[in-house]
C-alpha cells in the first residue's frame, strides 16, 4: 500500500541525496517526493509517498532514522490529514472546444492560467483521485504535457509534526 511520511531534516546541502540514495540502495520505492523549507529556515520538510508492505515500511523508517541529518519522521498515513498535489496540464484547445474545457475546469474548481490559439494550461490542486479524474476527462482533447508536484500533507486540527514529535497543545501524541 501507499504510505505518507512527513520528514523533518536539517536544511543542509546533500541531505536530499542521502535520503534518495538510501531509498535507491535498499530497494525502496518513492512514489512522490516534495521538499521545501519550513518556518524554521534551518529545517526542511520532506513529504515522501512510499509504496511498500508494512514490514518494508518499518525498515524504511528505521533506516531513515539512522541518517544523522534526519530530525523526525512521522507516518501520516493513518492520521486524519489534508493531502494535496498540484498539477499543470497543457491541453489541446481550439475555439470550438474551449468552452467545453472551460466547463470541466469550473466543475473541478481548477484554473486556466495560460491560453493560446491551440492550447490552454490548466492548474489544479487536490488529492490524487480528483487529479486522476480531470486528467482522464482532459485526455479526450489531447494532453500535450503535464507537470506535477509531489504530494504534500498536513495533519488536520491543531496537531503538528514538530522536531521532537507530533504534538497537540505541547503534548506528544504520536
Amino acid at each position: 500500500m501507499k504510505y505518507i511520511l512527513a520528514i523533518l531534516v536539517e536544511n543542509k546541502p546533500g541531505v536530499l541525496v542521502r535520503v534518495a540514495g538510501l531509498f535507491a540502495r535498499r530497494g525502496f520505492n518513492i512514489e512522490s517526493l516534495a521538499v521545501g523549507k519550513t518556518v524554521d529556515p534551518t529545517v526542511s520538510r520532506m513529504t515522501i509517498e512510499v509504496k511498500a508492505d508494512e514490514k518494508t515500511l518499518e525498515q524504511v523508517v528505521k533506516q531513515l532514522n539512522k541518517l544523522i541529518n534526519i530530525l523526525r519522521i512521522s507516518n501520516l498515513t493513518h492520521e486524519p490529514s489534508v493531502n494535496r498535489e498540484l498539477v499543470m496540464i497543457k491541453v489541446n484547445a481550439n475555439p470550438a472546444n474551449r468552452a467545453e474545457i472551460q466547463q470541466i475546469v469550473e466543475t473541478f474548481r481548477a484554473k486556466i492560467v495560460d491560453v493560446s490559439l491551440q492550447s490552454v494550461i490548466i492548474e489544479i490542486t487536490g488529492n490524487e483521485e480528483k487529479l486522476e479524474a480531470i486528467l482522464l476527462l482532459l485526455s479526450h482533447y489531447g494532453i500535450l504535457e503535464t507537470v506535477r508536484t509531489g504530494k504534500i500533507a498536513l495533519l488536520r486540527g491543531s496537531k503538528v509534526t514538530k522536531n521532537g514529535g507530533v504534538k497537540e497543545n505541547g503534548k506528544d501524541v504520536l
Binding site: 531534516v9 536539517e10 546541502p13 546533500g14 541525496v17 542521502r18 540514495g21 538510501l22 540502495r25 514490514k55 518499518e58 525498515q59 528505521k62 533506516q63 532514522n65 539512522k66 541518517l67 544523522i68 541529518n69 534526519i70 530530525l71 522536531n163
Partner: protein, 552 residues
C-alpha cells in the same frame, strides 16, 4: 587545527599516505608529536586503522589525499562499515573554488562514500572544522560504531581560524538508545526462566560494547550454551565448556543443530546475516527469539523478534543479570555433548603426508595458547581459523566478516600490532589474499612491526575452488595460483624473514622460530591443495542440511 583537534581526541597514531591535496596537513604533522605510519597503499592505511580499532576499541584515524588517494580508501571504508568499526578518515580535497570543475585529482568522495559511511562531511568553512572533528569522533565511536569521513578542501587547510574545541556535541538527529526497555527486559528474564533449551547467539556487538564478562556470567548462571558469529568469536572463551564455537555456513555441526533444536534463542549484538542463518525461514524455527541490538533497524530486519530489546549489550545485560536466577539444564547440555561427539571437527594429519591447513592453524593455536591477537584474510583459512583457533581473550580477532575483503588481514595485523605492541600478532592468510596487499611488507620492515604472517599456501583461491568443485563439477575456472611468488624470497626482498614448512614436524619449529624473531616474519606453509572446509551449509539451505566431507 586538525592536529590540535586530534590531540584533543587523544589520537597518538595516524595511518596514511600523503599527496598534493594534503600537503598542508602533512606539513603540520612534520613536527607534531603524533606518530604517522605511512603505508604503501591507501587501502592498507584504512585496513591498518581498522585492525587497530578492532583490537583496541579506539577509533582508527586515516589521512589520504584527494582523488585516487580518497578512492583507494573505499574498500577499507566499506569493510569497516559492514563490521561497525569506528574510523575517522580525513581526505584532502581540491580547493573550494575548483570543486565541481573536474580539477586534477578531484573526486566527489562524500558522494562516493555516502552508502558506506555512518556519516560524512565536506568542510566549507574553517570555523566549522573543530565542531566537525568533534562530531566525527563522537559519531564513529558511539551507538553502532562506524566510519566517518571528513573531506577537507585545500584552501580550508590553509585558512587561519580561531581554534575553540567544543566540549560537548549536539547532534539533534542522533540519539542512540543505550538503555533497554525495562518491560522487554522483564519479558526476556521470564523467557529465560521458562526455557528448557536456550542458546545464546552472540555477535560483534558484544565485543564492541565490552559485554564479554557479563555474557560469561549470564551463560554460566543460566547454563546456556553460547554460539558466536565470526565477529563475535573473541567475545566468549573458545575452550569454555559452554562454548559451541561458530555457527552458520562453516559453523560447527553442534552449534547449528543446537540452534535448530533450541526453544529460546538470545541474540546479542548479532544481525542474522545470511551466512549465519542459511535459509532464513528454517532458522531457529522452534525458538522464541530475544534480539538485543543497539541498532533498531537490525531488529526485525531479517527475522521476527519475539522480544525486541534496543540498547547497548552491556547495559542490557547488567539489567538482565539483576533479575536472572541461576538455572541448570542438564538434559540440554547432555544433548549438546551428544551432538559434539556425533560429528566432531577433525582431520587426519599423517606425519609424513601432505601438510593439512587445519593442522597448521591448530598448531598456531597451541603455540600461542589461544592468547595471540589474530587477523585473517578471507577464504578457507579464515573459516579454519574460526573453527580451530580457540580465542581466549576479547578483541583478539580482526577479520573482515560482512564485506569479506581479501587483502584486509595483513595490513590489519600491522595496525593491531601497533595498537597492542606487547602481544604476539599473527596474520593467518591465504596465498591469494596475501598478494592483494603484500606490498605492505615494506611498511612492516620500515617500522619494524613484528607481525607473523602465516600463509596457508594451497596454490589456489581455495574457497572459490571449493565451490567450483562442489557446485560446478570441478571446472576450476581462474582459481589456480601455481605460479605465485616464492614467499620466502618475497619476504627477504623486503628485508623481512621468510620461513617455510612442508611437513608436519616442521610446523612447530618454524612457528617458534618466527615468534623468537624480533621483526616481521612470513611463513610459507605448503599445504594440501584440494582440502575443503567442512561442515558446509550449501547456500540458501537450512543450516541443519550440512555437507560433512568430500564423499557426499
Amino acid at each position: 587545527m586538525v592536529i590540535e583537534a586530534l590531540k584533543k581526541e587523544n589520537v597518538d597514531l595516524i595511518f596514511g599516505y600523503p599527496g598534493g591535496a594534503v600537503l598542508n596537513l602533512y606539513d603540520q604533522l612534520y613536527d607534531a608529536d603524533i606518530r604517522h605510519i605511512m603505508t604503501r597503499h591507501e587501502q592498507a592505511a584504512v585496513h591498518a586503522a581498522d585492525g587497530y580499532a578492532r583490537v583496541t576499541g579506539r577509533p582508527g584515524v586515516v589521512f589520504a589525499t584527494s582523488g585516487p588517494g580518497a578512492t583507494n580508501l573505499v574498500t577499507g571504508i566499506a569493510t569497516a562499515y559492514m563490521d561497525s568499526v569506528p574510523l575517522v578518515l580525513i581526505t584532502g580535497q581540491v580547493s573550494s573554488p575548483l570543486i565541481g570543475t573536474d580539477a586534477f585529482q578531484e573526486a566527489d568522495i562524500c558522494g562516493i562514500t555516502l552508502p558506506i559511511t555512518k556519516h560524512n562531511y565536506l568542510v566549507t568553512d574553517i570555523a566549522d572544522l573543530p565542531r566537525i572533528i568533534k562530531e566525527a569522533f563522537y559519531l564513529a565511536a558511539s551507538g553502532r560504531c562506524g566510519p566517518v569521513l571528513i573531506d577537507l578542501p585545500k584552501d580550508i587547510q590553509q585558512a587561519e581560524g580561531e581554534f575553540r574545541y567544543p566540549k560537548n556535541v549536539q547532534i539533534p538527529g542522533y540519539n542512540p538508545t543505550y538503555d533497554g526497555h525495562l518491560g522487554q527486559i522483564n519479558r526476556a528474564v521470564k523467557a529465560l526462566a521458562r526455557a528448557k533449551k536456550p542458546v545464546l547467539y552472540v555477535g560483534g556487538g558484544v565485543v564492541s560494547s565490552g559485554a564479554h564478562e557479563l555474557l560469561l556470567e549470564l551463560a554460566e548462571r543460566t547454563e546456556t550454551p553460547v554460539t558466536t558469529t565470526l565477529m563475535g568469536l573473541s567475545a566468549f572463551p573458545g575452550c569454555h565448556p559452554l562454548s559451541l564455537g561458530m555457527l552458520g555456513m562453516h559453523g560447527t555441526y553442534w552449534a547449528n543443530i543446537a540452534v535448530n533444536e533450541a526453544d529460546l534463542l538470545i541474540a546479542i549484538g548479532a544481525r542474522f546475516d545470511d551466512r549465519v542463518t542459511g535459509k532464513i525461514n528454517h532458522f531457529a524455527q522452534g525458538a522464541n527469539i530475544i534480539h538485543i541490538d543497539i541498532d533498531p533497524a537490525e531488529i526485525g530486519k531479517n527475522i521476527r523478534a519475539d522480544v525486541p530489546i534496543v540498547g547497548d549489550a552491556k547495559r542490557v545485560l547488567i539489567e538482565l543479570l539483576k533479575k536472572t536466577d541461576s538455572k541448570q539444564h542438564p538434559d540440554w547440555l547432555a544433548r549438546i555433548e551428544e551432538l559434539k561427539n556425533c560429528v566432531p571437527l577433525d582431520y587426519c594429519q599423517e606425519p609424513e603426508g601432505e601438510l593439512l591447513p587445519q593442522f597448521v592453524i591448530e598448531s598456531i593455536y597451541r603455540e600461542t595458547k589461544g592468547e595471540a591477537v589474530i587477523t585473517t584474510e578471507v577464504g578457507q583459512h579464515q573459516m579454519w581459523t574460526a573453527q580451530y583457533y580457540k580465542f581466549k581473550n576479547v578483541r583478539s580477532l580482526a577479520s573482515s566478516g560482512g564485506l569479506g575483503t581479501m587483502g584486509y588481514g595483513f595490513p590489519a595485523s600491522l595496525g593491531a600490532q601497533l595498537g597492542r605492541p606487547e602481544e604476539t600478532v599473527f596474520c593467518i592468510a591465504g596465498d591469494g589474499s596475501f598478494q592483494m596487499n603484500s606490498q605492505e611488507l615494506a611498511t612492516a620492515v620500515n617500522y619494524n612491526i613484528p607481525v607473523k604472517v602465516a600463509i596457508i599456501n594451497n596454490q589456489y583461491l581455495g574457497m572459490v575452488r571449493q565451490w567450483q568443485q562442489i557446485f560446478f563439477r570441478r571446472r576450476y575456472s581462474s582459481v589456480a595460483l601455481e605460479n605465485g611468488p616464492d614467499f620466502v624470497k618475497l619476504a627477504e626482498a623486503y628485508g623481512a624473514v621468510g620461513l617455510r614448512a612442508e611437513k608436519a614436524a616442521e610446523v612447530a619449529v618454524v612457528l617458534r622460530q618466527a615468534m623468537a624473531t624480533p621483526g616481521p616474519v612470513v611463513i610459507d606453509f605448503r599445504v594440501r591443495a584440494e582440502e575443503n572446509v567442512f561442515p558446509m551449509v550449501p547456500p540458501n539451505c537450512p543450516t541443519c542440511e550440512m555437507i560433512w566431507s568430500d564423499e557426499e
